[in-house]
């Protein structure tokens, strides 16, 4: 008994050391964000001499943080809301309809999970231009609907299989319209999978860089946080203290989302992954 206790303490300490090494780059980033230019150049590894928020103030302005933050928030909310609406409707109906056409449409809907975004981005940009979706946040959000729907439909489709039919039959006998039944009876029951769909898509859209780069980069007023970060970090070249402060300002919102929805992320990621 005693032996297992010491060995588990040893494992704990070893894991703690591994973790400390693993997260040390992020610690250096936090240290760096408080240092002055000369301090970060001469004392890279040390704890900062004083905790000054000057870098954060600089970055906050030069990145136009409030603007880009709101832009990112808007695209994320607009994109995720659309994905949830269209995917829950389709996933539910495709799961409940047992015909060959329904199955073919289901296959069509989930097929894109196998197609890398980079293998159709060139023509997607051209098509989006024709549709007037370039250069504005609505357009970007709408494009996310199509890109996010496949995985989300897959998750909804699988979840609906496990829900009994009886409730729907009762409701339709009572003369409830299909849409009303979906909104007031079905959708509330999909809550667990909706949580996963929201978290997975929100983290993806919040952190996405390539699609915004291709669609809205030319317009300064609609830049997302990732684009603003890229622009400003390129412009500062080697001023690491500002770059580190900017990185922290961009990580914090994602970190907050993660800490709040941690449990759903675990579930959502695992659910999303087990599709293979």
């Amino acid at each position: 008994m005693k032996k297992t206790k010491t060995s588990s303490i040893i494992t704990f300490v070893v894991m703690l050391i591994i973790l400390a090494c693993y997260l040390s780059p992020l610690l250096l980033m936090v240290f760096g964000s408080f240092k002055s230019y000369s301090e970060i150049m001469s004392h890279v590894l040390e704890v900062p001499q004083r905790f000054s928020f000057d870098n954060f103030k600089n970055v906050f302005e030069s990145m136009n943080y409030p603007r880009s933050f709101l832009n990112t928030l808007f695209v994320t909310v607009f994109g995720v809301a659309g994905i949830v609406v269209i995917s829950s409707l389709a996933g539910y109906k495709l799961s409940r309809t047992k015909t060959r056409y329904s199955y073919l449409i289901f296959l069509f809907c989930i097929m894109p999970m196998m197609i890398p975004f980079q293998s159709f981005m060139i023509t997607l940009v051209k098509l989006a231009k024709e549709l007037g979706l370039l250069g504005n946040l609505y357009g970007l959000g709408i494009i996310y609907w199509g890109l996010g729907a496949p995985l989300s439909i897959f998750l909804y489709h699988g979840f609906v299989k496990g829900i009994p039919h009886e409730l729907e039959e009762c409701a339709s006998l009572d003369g409830c319209s299909p849409l009303r039944m979906f909104v007031s009876i079905i959708f509330p029951m999909l809550k667990p999978v909706t949580a996963s769909v929201v978290v997975v898509n929100a983290m993806w859209i919040w952190n996405d860089f390539l699609l915004p780069l291709l669609t809205i980069n030319s317009n300064d007023s609609v830049k997302t946080l990732q684009l603003a970060a890229y622009g400003f970090m390129g412009q500062y070249k080697m001023e690491w203290q500002n770059i580190m402060a900017g990185a922290i300002l961009i990580i914090i919102p994602a970190l907050i989302i993660y800490l709040i929805f941690q449990k759903n992320i675990v579930k959502g990621m695992v659910a999303g992954a087990v599709k293979g």
Binding site: A90, P112, I115, S119, M244, I251, L255
Partner: protein
Amino acid sequence: MNQARRKKVSHALEFLGFTMPAVIAILLFVGIPFFMCIFYSLRKWNGIQRKSTFIGLQNYIRAFTNDSTFIKAIGYTLLYALLTVILINIIALLLSAILEQSNLWGKGFFRAAFYIPNIISLIIIGFIWKFIFGRAFEAIHQATGIRAFGWSWLGQPKLAVISTVLVTVWQALGFYMLIYIAGLQSVPDDVLEAATIDGAGKVRRFFSVVLPLIVPSITVCTFYSIANSLKMFELIFTLTGGGPGDATTSVALDIYNTAFNSNQYGYGSAKSVILFVMVAFITILQVTLFKKKEIEA
């Protein structure tokens, strides 16, 4: 008769009403662009004018015979994918096993902490590691004298390839650990107990009992790590910019450069189709091979 028909029509309309929004969105933003890409891969098109001319397979022939950057990009991407897939899966499985097998205190904390790099966007990761490889490594080298820290991790072509692999493994590890931990938790306790009674030690138990039972998790993790590494773009975009020279230019980055920097949209489309075939072929091969190894508990 008439009523039955009306019912059928209303069912069909209901089905369409529920599924069409998603089908249209997917068709518009994935399906049509994908087929447009195949169409334009057979044409010469600069992307600025609408006009394009049919040139048959010339784009494909050029990609494989007359474009050393693209060939090198394929070589780099395959090497990068091979190394990341092996390292990610071994390290993630090992750490997950240590976390799950022992009665370790603070399992949830470790799992959450290892996941943190995964919530940071890849372009930010690129900037952070540019700083680590540059300034921080130099400082460690001066403080400790360890030679490896003095090397030019982003400036020397071979080392730069290793650097991109290391940063990817560092960033992605937490995600794969989640899947492995979920797999390890599904291994039934009685099987493990039976093995212990039969006299199997910890290591033996892991390789002979646990490992065969979690092949489904290994299949999923390998699939994901292959698919993600074959289309790597963002990290390389900020960490190395594809350099030095074109040592770390991935296929995805080369597609981006071909289309958006040199305005060869038709040629870029052909490379896109090649990327798709590459990813599809390798992942399908991998899944079929791994599925054969799966057993029931």
